[in-house]
């Protein structure tokens, strides 16, 4: 038995050493990746402004789904698109943006549907990638998020080793679709406009249990915003039609629950389900045409909900 335990510990040590090397690799080698765009978005958010701002909060359905200059032109206010990656989890996304909310801000919260099912609200592998950029955000994590981080630590260490080795062979300065510099000054992803779209858009199917904690957290966030003398609208993400069809029952269940809440909801899920032809590479990422389509739809709905009057009042 002692021999067995010793060998197990030795093996554990060997694996841990490999992973430790991964953790110790300085992360500035990969600081041009998508997750580092949060630095740039934080800079936009932290600037003190006299006029109200529109802040878009959610995952990549926003960065790849909105073209902010159209909104800015329509309402004549600054628009900041904070969307980066749904995999951070809605809790992390909200916690990250909270300190930046100022009086008079208009927050448009548009999370992916998956945030409201099972445990995706707490994040996935991207959470640890987000944290490696902003380690101080560790303080906001709850135990479920910590468990997710522990689960993905080994993979993340190996990813870092791989990235480190890759830099010997190719420069990371090539700006591709998922790069820190793939965004415009508002935080919208635009670099993919020059790339060919994926032949077949992968389909999604929502399943599992509706996470009521996620809905409650959104309610608390809305109350927080109101207390700051700002305002929140809840908007639905741009899910492609085939995925929408697959997930219609789950989305309706979600809609029935969220519409019971007091915060202002813009439109209905079906209004924002977009044709597959408007999608770029995933069920939430739109092409240029798609981004224009969804932004115009959002502008129309915001007008219907009196955004212009709200801005004038402020």
């Amino acid at each position: 038995m002692n021999r067995f335990i010793k060998k197990c510990l030795l093996f554990f040590l060997a694996i841990s050493t490999i992973l430790l090397i991964g953790f110790l690799i300085p992360s500035n080698l990969i600081k041009e990746n998508l997750h580092y765009s949060i630095y740039d978005k934080h800079q936009l958010l932290s600037a003190e402004k006299e006029k109200p701002r529109i802040i878009l909060v959610g995952g990549s359905n926003l960065s790849f789904g909105i073209y902010s200059p159209l909104i800015e032109k329509e309402f004549e206010v600054e628009v900041i698109n904070t969307g980066i990656h749904a995999g951070y989890g809605l809790k992390y996304i909200i916690d990250d943006v909270k300190p930046f909310i100022q009086k008079g801000d208009i927050v448009i919260l548009s999370p992916e549907y998956s945030h409201f099912f099972n445990d995706f609200f707490y994040g996935s592998q991207a959470l640890i990638q987000g944290l490696s950029v902003y380690p101080t955000n560790w303080k906001n994590l709850n135990w479920r998020q910590i468990l997710i981080c522990i689960k993905f630590l080994p993979k993340e260490a190996l990813v870092k080793i791989k990235s480190y080795l890759t830099t010997f062979f190719k420069s990371l300065n090539i700006i591709d679709i998922y790069h820190r510099k793939s965004f415009n000054i508002h935080g919208d992803a635009v670099n993919h406009w020059n790339h060919p779209k994926t032949k077949a858009i992968p389909n999604d199917q929502l399943s599992g249990k509706l996470n009521k904690h996620a809905i409650e957290y959104v309610t608390e966030f809305a109350n927080f915003i109101e207390k700051k003398n700002a305002h929140m609208y809840f908007s639905f993400p741009c899910l492609n039609k085939s995925s929408y069809k697959n997930s219609e029952v789950a989305i309706n269940t979600f809609y029935n629950q969220i519409s019971l809440k007091d915060f202002e909801i813009i439109g209905k899920p079906i209004d924002y389900s977009t044709n597959d032809s408007l999608h770029f590479d995933t069920h939430y990422h739109l092409t240029k045409k798609g981004q224009y389509f969804r932004t115009n739809k959002l502008i129309d709905d915001l007008k219907k909900h009196g955004l212009e009057e709200f801005i004038q009042l402020k």
């Binding site: 067995f4 694996i15 490999i18 993979k155 032949k199 389909n203 199917q205």
Partner: protein
Amino acid sequence: MLFNTLEFSIFLPLVFLIYWFVVNKNIKVQNLFLLFASYVFYGWWDYRFLGLIIFSSTVDFLIGLKLSKEEKTFNRKALLFLSLLINLGFLGFFKYYNFFLDSFVDAFTLFGSTFDSNRLNIILPVGISFYTFQTLSYSIDIYRKKMTATKDLIAFFAYVSFFPQLVAGPIERATNLLPQFSKKRKFEYENATDGLRQILWGLFKKVVVADNCATYVNEVFSNYAELSGSTLLLGAVFFAFQIYGDFSGYSDIAIGTSRLFGFNLMKNFAFPYFSRDISEFWRRWHISLSTWFRDYLYIPLGGSRGGMVMKIRNTFAIFLVSGFWHGANWTFLAWGFLNALYFLPLLLAEKNRINTNTVAEGKLLPSPKEFYQIIKTFLLISLAWVFFRSDTITDSFHYLKGIFSTSLFESPTFFDTKIFSISILSISILIFIEWIQRTKEHGLVLSSKTPFLFRWSVYIILVVLIFYFAGTKQEFIYFQF
């Protein structure tokens, strides 16, 4: 609790250490601890269903005791009937109630009558098909006087709920597993290390092969109407590897885990995709279920002793029941029926037992004839899996029709090329390693004579592959059964 979770990676070492270092003095305490650990393992999913296992175990324990004392045939039959009624009653209610209700309503609708049905919102308890068959084997074997009833309540409860195989098998017979709970377990270094290797190989099959293939398979089966025949064929082939990686991976982890605790479970898979005919495939696939049906259904029905008509009837019976065991859907019945059809020519020609040895034994590669046989069998099985994976019979037929169309010769759609490449790479590793190891107990049997550096390199590479290429986590497919 799932094997491929953080929870299990904490649970297993903890249970292992307590089992061998704290409660190792007394076998009864050790069994009690195993029972407790098994209930924690099961209750992690949904503690409410623990009551069902406890009730099922109690019923069979008491019936077993009564049966062993009872001499009158009528009373013995009545007791066995009671055991069957209760166990199959639970299984029928939880698994088949809505299916029968819907089928009944559909049948009447065909004749012009319509009426409302009260569908129940029933949650299927994980593993119910597995532990029900396990407890049934106990009652039946006592009835047949193949074994005597145990008087050790804790040992019996621990046997029914033994956590490594509780939710997805292998379906153990009481004659094999129960006596192991009565003997003092001794830690054996070789057995435990080989158990760990088997766990590692099982994890690779599940997390890397099955979960990556699942991503492609899900895409293909959700959009089959818009995809080319070549993509559909690829989807069916990937599903064949997904279900194999998933289920045989689970079995390997279950068997390996049991070995850490000094238990030996039966082999559940014997490299089935290297089979040269359907008959060989069914001797190598889900062995614990096939032999269960052979011993408790096929043989009692007369087996192959009667004439050809009886043989055919029994063959269809076993395949249809096996299909139905997998799920309350016509697709599973169709899958069973198709496999029976595949099997029939071999049965009629009395060639169902010609390939009983290992393929290309002692050779590096199979002969061209063997290679052709393996590919043919694999393709037939993959086409049958289409029924298994589809939501409805109509979907299955449309899917198959889509394969056999002119678009079969178009270039396939890969969706996410990265995941597709990982799937291809992992399938290649799987085939390569299992081919080399096809005479062994599992894919990662390495003798102590193998150089230390080689062995550890293999382990470390596999761990790195598991961490790095882990696909999107999917539930074990067989949990739903």
